[in-house]
Subunit: 406 residues, 2 copies
Amino acid sequence: MKSWEKIEGHLGTVAGFSGAAVAAGIKKIDGALDLALIFSEAEETTAAGVFTSNRVAAAPVTLSRQNLKSSRGRARAVVVNSGNANACTGAAGRKTAVATARAAAKLLGVRPDLVLIASTGVIGVPLKVERITNQLPALKARLSSENASDVSRAIMTTDTFPKTCALRTTIAGKTVNLAGVAKGAGMIHPRMATMLSFVATDAGVAPAQLARFLRAAVEVSFNRISVDGDTSTNDTVLLLSSGASGARVAWGTKEGAHFLAGLTELCQSLAKMVARDGEGAHKLVTVEVSGARTESDAERIARAIANSPLVKTAIAGADPNWGRILCAAGYSGAKFDPARVDIRVNDLYLCRRGLDARFDEAAAKRELERKELTLRVDLHQGKSEVRMWTCDLTHDYITINASYRT
Amino acid sequence: MKSWEKIEGHLGTVAGFSGAAVAAGIKKIDGALDLALIFSEAEETTAAGVFTSNRVAAAPVTLSRQNLKSSRGRARAVVVNSGNANACTGAAGRKTAVATARAAAKLLGVRPDLVLIASTGVIGVPLKVERITNQLPALKARLSSENASDVSRAIMTTDTFPKTCALRTTIAGKTVNLAGVAKGAGMIHPRMATMLSFVATDAGVAPAQLARFLRAAVEVSFNRISVDGDTSTNDTVLLLSSGASGARVAWGTKEGAHFLAGLTELCQSLAKMVARDGEGAHKLVTVEVSGARTESDAERIARAIANSPLVKTAIAGADPNWGRILCAAGYSGAKFDPARVDIRVNDLYLCRRGLDARFDEAAAKRELERKELTLRVDLHQGKSEVRMWTCDLTHDYITINASYRT
């Protein structure tokens, strides 16, 4: 099998998919794209989702979960809006989500449970359903593979750049595409779906297997990033598979492993874009914990470091304060001997065997000033390792979040 | 029994205790107090400690734990320095702590295991023992009840004000005093001892009972504050009881309950000062969660809200973004029905039964602009309640922590 190759492309590049976006006036900014539609022509399209584990789940999350269940893992369309999360909006919010799915289904000539919904934006403010339904005909009229490239912009909130990734390979002689979009910025937390992401493939995958592939890929990508430790009410990752490539893929086969590798690469690329674009972030930080006794220990430590405000402000200030890194590892709950720990920024040792490595301050500062850097923590007590992605914590995070609502 | 009365006083006000502080040159600022001694005259002085649960515990923590065990809950002196945490300093750090205790013990004519040690400051930098031992004679020479008032300043790092509290009551006809100091600022996290605090009483309490009283008081005070969710390597709370008042107090008696009430009040006062003085903080925020099914549920929710950077930046910006509060409750892990939740800032409803309370924006802003405010979350599904204290998250937090080390 040919390895996956990164291509210039977007959701519309994937055979069978089209998309469109319009400005529906949900965002406060005039003319800003804030409503998007993703459509799959193939009747046999399968779908899977990973959603927030937050007990306060927004109406679109509840409805999409329910629709995926009722359709037994099938979907034809995704309607997504930005500017209003339709969260903490009670029965009225639920009605808006249901009416949106119904109106889109009618227009597209599919069953209502084949339409999935996602929203992002301010919490607790009613979302007027007409804002969406009035624009659905225009959205449908604009549907095309080219216009699918607009979706990445329409789902942005405080994101500073649109996030798209597309990969291509050959499976059983057929060209297979994978493409996805994501939006992130604030409220990014691991341990769950994390933000919004929509991924499409023209490989053919049965519903239960699609769900399995998605969970496996999300676990090591979107669940491994952290911006501020907060977890949204709306986190949603959806994967749709049109089968239009003619290639079928099954879990547990060689093709399945190849597909999972591509899906993981795609999800990690998008997840890293989300971390890099964390609110106020200036740096993409990879936290690499190795030499742990168990993967769970490695993950606890990586997560504690990636979530530590003290570590993240030190990185913002290019201060090689490795004590904070070791300290975060210490309160992570993982078991380890601090006296065996090495800590590096990129390849420069800050700490060896739990002690100051007598590093060159200027050199350390230079490493920490890079736009992309890796904190490497080697516990030297086992073989498990885990990688997470996060960003620095800067003044801009405070500025953005001190008055987001108003 | 007379209720506890707040008095102008300090550690030296408590019968049997003296103290002193000097500038030992451990802090970078010339002439800044950075080394303190607390001494108890009474041979029968008992002692108890609550320490960090961080796996990376600093040398002074390890040694003090060990000394309390070896002495079976007795102590005569506490030596504390600021400016250097003596954490992540390996065998050399251990030596420094041991040598400090030994030198102080010799000078004061007590057994080395009756000296407790605490340090706070930068991590991973060797602490030169001579800095401390050279100053011990001067410290001893300055020992007096008046000079004990200097201790609160000597333990400060990024604290903006010294933290002292003193209470007085009468038990069995005897005047009983309780006094304490604390230092906090960054790295304040609940779920453990939290920062440094030293408390003295002239009530007489047996060692095992003293430990029980201290744990009970710390649980609802220092363990209920949060500045940034990070947990230090050095957190230490020590309680010394001289018995010099002549009044004895036992767990499970009426006097014991009275003593615990005073100790809890003292610890909560100090804990609130620590929260108010969180790095960069402008506001003291009380998080009050009521109507929970269990205390553990209430605590999870209060902790999630108190730790949420999004909630805390919203408070900094006086933005009544109650959705973030409900969202934090949602990911806390506690079970509750979001549709029954009320959220108030002080007495103003922001959210009723999970929905926007249609509050007056200007009024909400006014409430959030107060220097002290309470976020009240009523779950309406049980009778348990918990209170925590935190602060807002501001630009100054970033400024302070982006270059703390350098």
